[in-house]
């Protein structure tokens, strides 16, 4: 229980250190798991994340095996059935979640810290992590669900565009597939494949644990030990292959009976530890990463009313994640909107940002820094990123300084060197223009 006075003192401290980022503790478990911890005493709850380098980039030929492995963990563990696992979390009000992306396979749990809530929640979480049973009946059901969701993708022009975009962007790299797999690969996967995948990648050396909440350091250490202690040490996953640049532009139109055409354009972008990270990040903020005030939004939406949503982003990953520009517009406007999007990009590469634009971007990013870490959930997500990608512990402390140090020239130079409109992939999914 926290006294009111303590909260007032905390409030005063915070008010004097507006830009202070959370204090991060980091240590290793005995078997080599990386632990990242922030103490947030205000609410009687804790967020725990366990992240493995076991995303779809590790699928190999069995595209979908990472996601299926992750999805099966809570379907039965240490003899408990799926119903019992679900009830064990729900009974104490704990929230369990699992997801698998390209880099990361993630398990999350949020619980109250009262002993009689946290203990049972951790107990079942530990079983799910370390003793999954991979029951055959559950596997068949989840496999069918996944096949159905692959079918559902085909009724969404956005999903069709996204899948094709990754496929064309990474022809020779594991990032080229979707974590949800493909009908033929998902159909071919067996429980034994899941067990092999689990055995190789769900190991302590390949794991990051994030703990944010009202647990002191020794309690947090106990939590990490309880969760990871049951895992074998194992080996860290191998370094992924480098992403090859694209060699020529390609435009692909996929007919679809929709009223809008979804347009996705881009190329391999940057990695999490990229030397150009801040120049590209801030440049993109100005180009298409700042909502209604970005250049793309101004040209496409504000000036011309062509699209409701238009944006660009770099998704930094272990290796070069995508740089992507996207919009959706009425079919008969697709070419016009694509032209404006391309012109905005080429003009930005050629001219770089203006002084005013750069200043506004820096003001926005630094002035809004406190909003990035204003909840346990957001802090936990930052820790996951810092831990998984091996970023320095002072990443958040130095963030604003690094943003403020970026110059116009650096942005222009980085975009010229890294962004190649004449070698980009463009995907259009939509229907014929209606004749009026």
């Amino acid at each position: 229980m926290i006294s009111k006075i303590w909260v007032v003192i905390m409030g005063l401290l915070l008010s004097f250190t507006v830009n202070a980022s959370p204090t991060i503790d980091h240590w290793q478990t005995a078997n080599g798991g990386q632990v990242y911890y922030v103490y947030t005493p205000e609410l009687p709850m804790v967020d725990v994340q366990v992240i493995f380098d076991a995303g779809a980039a590790r699928d190999g030929d069995l595209n979908g095996v990472s996601l299926l492995t992750n999805a099966l963990l809570n379907e039965g563990a240490a003899g408990m059935t799926a119903d019992q696992v679900a009830a064990a979390f729900d009974d104490v009000g704990a929230q369990f979640g699992n997801t698998s992306q390209r880099d990361m396979a993630v398990l999350t749990m949020r619980s109250l810290i009262a002993d009689n809530a946290l203990k049972p929640a951790l107990d079942v979480f530990g079983k799910v992590l370390a003793q999954p049973d991979f029951p055959q009946a559950s596997f068949q059901r989840i496999q069918k669900q996944l096949l159905l969701s692959l079918q559902a993708e085909n009724q969404s022009p956005a999903a069709i565009a996204s899948r094709r975009f990754y496929y064309e962007l990474y022809p020779e790299h594991p990032y080229g597939t979707m974590p949800s797999g493909q009908v033929d690969t998902v159909s071919a996967i067996t429980v034994d494949d899941l067990k092999r995948f689990y055995k190789q990648y769900y190991v302590a050396q390949n794991a990051v644990v994030v703990i944010v909440g009202a647990l002191d350091k020794s309690q947090a250490s106990d939590v990490a030990n309880e969760l990871l202690g049951q895992l074998p040490e194992g080996d860290k996953a191998e370094q992924l292959a480098k992403v090859e640049p694209l060699h020529s532009a390609q435009t692909i139109h996929i007919d679809f009976p929709s009223t809008q055409t979804h347009i996705v354009m881009g190329q391999p972008g940057m990695s999490r530890d990229d030397d150009d990270y801040f120049a590209l990040y801030i440049g993109n903020h100005i180009l298409g990463g700042s909502g209604l005030v970005s250049q793309l939004s101004n040209e496409i939406r504000e000036k011309r009313g062509l699209s409701y949503s238009v944006y660009s982003y770099f998704r930094p990953m272990q290796e070069l994640g995508p740089f992507q520009l996207a919009l959706q517009t009425r079919n008969d406007q697709a070419q016009q909107a694509l032209d404006v999007m391309k012109n905005t990009l080429t003009s930005f590469i050629k001219n770089g940002p203006t002084d005013d634009e750069l200043l506004a971007a820096k003001q926005n990013i630094s002035g809004g820094f406190a909003l990035r870490v204003d909840s346990n959930k957001k802090i936990a997500d930052y820790l996951a990123m810092i831990g998984f990608y091996g970023l320095p512990l002072d990443y958040l402390d130095n963030f604003i300084d690094k943003v403020n140090a970026v110059t116009k020239q650096q942005i222009k130079e980085a975009f010229n060197r890294r962004v190649k409109p004449d070698k980009m992939i463009t995907i259009l999914v939509g229907g014929e223009a209606e004749t009026k």
Partner: protein, 458 residues
């Protein structure tokens, strides 16, 4: 302090809501009728500021449906002292996040800022509360943006199309008949004068609630509100007609055929909500809320356990009920059958679940589980200043007291198994039921047409 009993494993869960969790909420009213509610949350040096107007699609009528949402878009397009989009530029330059949302019963605008920048939000929101300029040319462009939004959200989304048709069937004369975004034909024919009139009618301090949550001192916020919102003139707002939904006389059923891969089922029963329920039946919405939890409150609830895992009839299925709407609403169940099962199979399985709720008391174990989740969620929700402000603003704007969000946990705790059985029998009947089925039409993909190398060169 909240206390819960857990019987199954023979121990007690004491969930102590610490004094810190009993956050301070202060309420003020300005002379011009503007309501200000401030909730202190000193965890981080940030503040969220939301302005809620009592207007939304349920205030609209045929011919102008969606106009509240279109007006929300126009609120970013310039005032007497701000150029189009300048509002957003100023917020961005101050490090803020901003946006707006329109619902059936409200239109709300928000900024999240570092706490010392609250004045930026107040200055700008006060300006556009009374000094909006609706330019004809700007409207024509923004009408197209909204039409694109509708295409993206509804026209090209078969499940959204079904949902829209479902509401238009379940509600005949209640304004919940209309989609929030409006019918396409109405969107295409808004005139600037329509928007100006709508703005004049509803945007005034006496029809607004300002909610501030964050690392602030209430008295300071009050002074700031007086400075910026105080000079604004109150407006005579129109009295809403009641538009009470006619009595339903039997099951309604519709089918929508649309390009899609998977079928989809929606079932909804008209039920009371907190705002519409009689005083002696005030418990009913909370019983329906717990009932929704019994069916769909987590991975151990009946839908996941019996329909997804047990009988494997549903690929996915959910139950939804919002107890804080302004008008009578539906208790909704929606889902997709697994391959090899039909919508009829799924509907039958859902009805069997409903019959079970009517004939058998829910177990004490289930009831305890739902109540424990509600208590835990009340703690988790406090991790988000935005969510806390949302709760307060929404309750106030539908004409309820924000303190209901504090009483929510107690009201849920008080629900009994008998009450759940009673609302199931009272409300899950054919005279309240609407069902809707999405029938997929073949999508007919043509072969992708690949143009390699340079046709679209820059």
């Amino acid at each position: 302090m909240q206390m819960l009993k857990k019987i199954k494993q023979g121990f007690w869960i004491f969930l102590t809501i610490s004094s810190a969790a009993q956050a301070q909420v202060s309420e003020f009213e300005l002379d011009n009728g503007l309501k200000l509610i401030v909730k202190e949350d000193h965890r981080a040096p940030v503040v969220v500021s939301q302005v809620w107007y009592k207007v939304g699609s349920s205030y609209e009528y045929n011919g102008i449906t969606g106009i509240s949402h279109q007006l929300e878009h126009m609120m970013f397009k310039g005032t007497e002292n701000l150029k189009p989009n300048e509002f957003s530029q100023i917020v961005a330059a101050n490090g803020g996040n901003e946006n707006a949302f329109t619902g059936r019963d409200y239109t709300a605008y928000f900024q999240t800022l570092e706490k010392d920048r609250l004045h930026v939000s107040f200055r700008l929101e006060a300006e556009r509360m009374r000094k909006l300029v609706i330019d004809d040319a700007e409207l024509l462009k923004e009408r197209e943006v909204v039409a694109e939004e509708r295409r993206m959200r509804t026209e090209d989304n078969p499940q959204a199309l079904l949902r829209e048709a479902f509401n238009a069937t379940a509600f005949v004369n209640s304004p919940y008949h209309h989609p929030v975004i409006g019918w396409m034909s109405d969107i295409n024919h808004y005139q600037a004068q329509d928007l100006r009139q709508w703005y004049q009618k509803w945007y005034a301090p006496n029809n607004a609630t300002v909610v501030v949550v964050g690392d602030v001192e209430p008295q300071v916020v009050y002074e700031l509100a007086k400075k910026y919102f105080g000079p604004l003139k109150a407006e005579q707002t129109a009295e809403l007609k009641p538009q009470i939904e006619i009595e339903q006389k039997g099951v309604r059923h519709i089918e929508i055929e649309a390009p899609a891969e998977l079928p989809y089922l929606m079932m909804g029963w008209k039920v009371p909500v907190v705002k519409t329920v009689a005083a002696d039946a005030a418990w009913e919405p909370y019983a329906l809320e717990v009932l929704a939890g019994i069916l769909d409150g987590g991975n151990s609830a009946r839908f996941a356990r019996d329909l997804v895992r047990g009988d494997q009839i549903a690929a996915n299925i959910g139950a939804g009920y919002g107890l804080f709407s302004r008008l009578k609403d539906v208790f909704l169940i929606a889902g997709t059958p697994v391959k090899g099962k039909t919508v009829a199979d799924l509907q039958q399985a859902v009805m069997a679940q409903i019959d079970k709720l009517k004939t058998e008391l829910v177990t004490q174990e289930e009831l305890n589980r739902i109540k424990t989740q509600v208590v835990a969620n009340a703690v988790y929700e406090r991790d988000s200043v935005f969510y806390q402000a949302m709760q307060i603003g929404m309750l106030e704007t539908v004409g309820l007291d924000w303190q209901l969000s504090d009483a929510y946990v107690d009201n849920v705790q008080a629900v009994t198994a008998q009450q759940i059985q009673q609302v199931a029998n009272n409300y899950f009947i054919n005279q309240r039921l609407t069902t809707a089925e999405l029938i997929p039409l073949a999508l007919d993909h043509k072969k992708p047409n690949v143009t390699a190398g340079g046709r679209h060169d820059f």
